[in-house]
Symmetry: C2
Subunit: 218 residues, 2 copies
């Protein structure tokens, strides 16, 4: 495999999507696929797909296409989903509850080892098979378990202070569901933001653009 | 304002982020900001910000910076968040529940007018102040209310059939939380995907890359 330190962010962001499509094909019993067929399914160009996969050394054989299981496994290895980093969740409200129960962490490289909340009514309840712990025990827990990722499902106004504390406790990455942008706050800490409000506003723009063009053509 | 039909997707995707930062500054009572200051806060370059905002005709005055309230309002108008398109939600499980209660739809251009589920145990319950309706009543509801957007919070295997039906009922846009990729399925239908699993795997890659570089340098 090529050195992948220089792979660009857009390529990295497409890898989980390749992984998802390949999993679907694998589950359908498909063994091989050409870059052309894969591109049609995914709405990318065939040359885009070849370029992307070449960043990691390429897996296709000219004229034979890609072996789906092999490519699926290789992309999984590149993403590192076999390594199972320890993750904790901060905030077990509606959103935390949904994420803890909805996502298959273990298939995506993580082991959700603890859920914390400071609401005494929530502490002790079971969410996705895990008992919610008191935020006051967070420090002891981190020293003992050494989780590397924190999932922030708390209101935006508490994001900064919680993130500072978590970084001091050894957290190396955030899955950030708050409105607060952690992106450029820490050196050497990975941040993946899920700004649902931004996504909704992007859809709003698209919908209004569609109806504007209706008005022009009608 | 310039014709914004040709504005690129990455610029559009950044607009909600500008809106979010400007809202925060506005709430802090800040009146003006230079592109340099705004860029430092947002982790973009000042020239990137000037370029982005120039796509829409530019709002800054050389040497005076941007008037925050004006820029905030203008970006809101470009996004169309004042228009309040009617949206329905399909699926009131954990994830649907969280989204319906967590998001301020009305601040982001939408009015959530109905929530549907086919689970009889969920139908009739109240989620985010709205009573969940039976999916069997969806067709009548759409004919009467004419919603334009559907929020899909259902398992991936039901995404395609539900989306086909919704498009036939007049839906013009999807906020898609399923694993299924609706992106290239329909002409003239807007799709905004929130693939949480992809986001989690992207974080997995970043975390593993951090720990790889630790191993090299230690």
């Amino acid at each position: 495999m090529k050195n992948n330190n220089q792979v660009s962010v857009p390529v990295i962001k497409r890898l989980p999507r390749y992984h998802r499509y390949l999993e679907e094909l694998k589950n359908m019993g498909v063994v091989r696929i050409s870059s052309k067929e894969l591109s049609q399914r995914m709405g990318l160009t065939a040359s885009q797909i070849r370029q992307d996969l070449n960043c990691f050394g390429g897996f296709g054989q000219q004229g034979y296409g890609y072996n789906i299981e092999q490519l699926y496994n290789e992309i999984g290895l590149i993403l590192g989903i076999n390594k199972k980093s320890k993750a904790i969740m901060i905030g077990a409200g509606n959103l935390g509850h949904a994420i803890a129960t909805h996502l298959h962490f273990e298939n995506r490289g993580f082991d959700l080892v603890g859920i914390f909340d400071n609401n005494k009514n929530v502490v002790g309840t079971v969410v996705g098979g895990r008992t919610v712990m008191d935020s006051e025990t967070l420090e002891d827990f981190c020293q003992k378990e050494q989780p590397v990722v924190a999932i922030l499902c708390i209101p935006g106004e508490y994001a900064a202070e919680n993130a500072d504390k978590l970084v001091s406790l050894g957290i190396k990455g955030f899955w950030n569901f708050t409105q607060y942008d952690l992106m450029h706050r820490y050196e050497g800490v990975a941040v993946e933001n899920v700004h649902l409000g931004d996504s909704l506003m992007t859809l709003c723009y698209q919908i209004n653009k569609l109806s504007d063009s209706d008005e022009v053509t009608e």
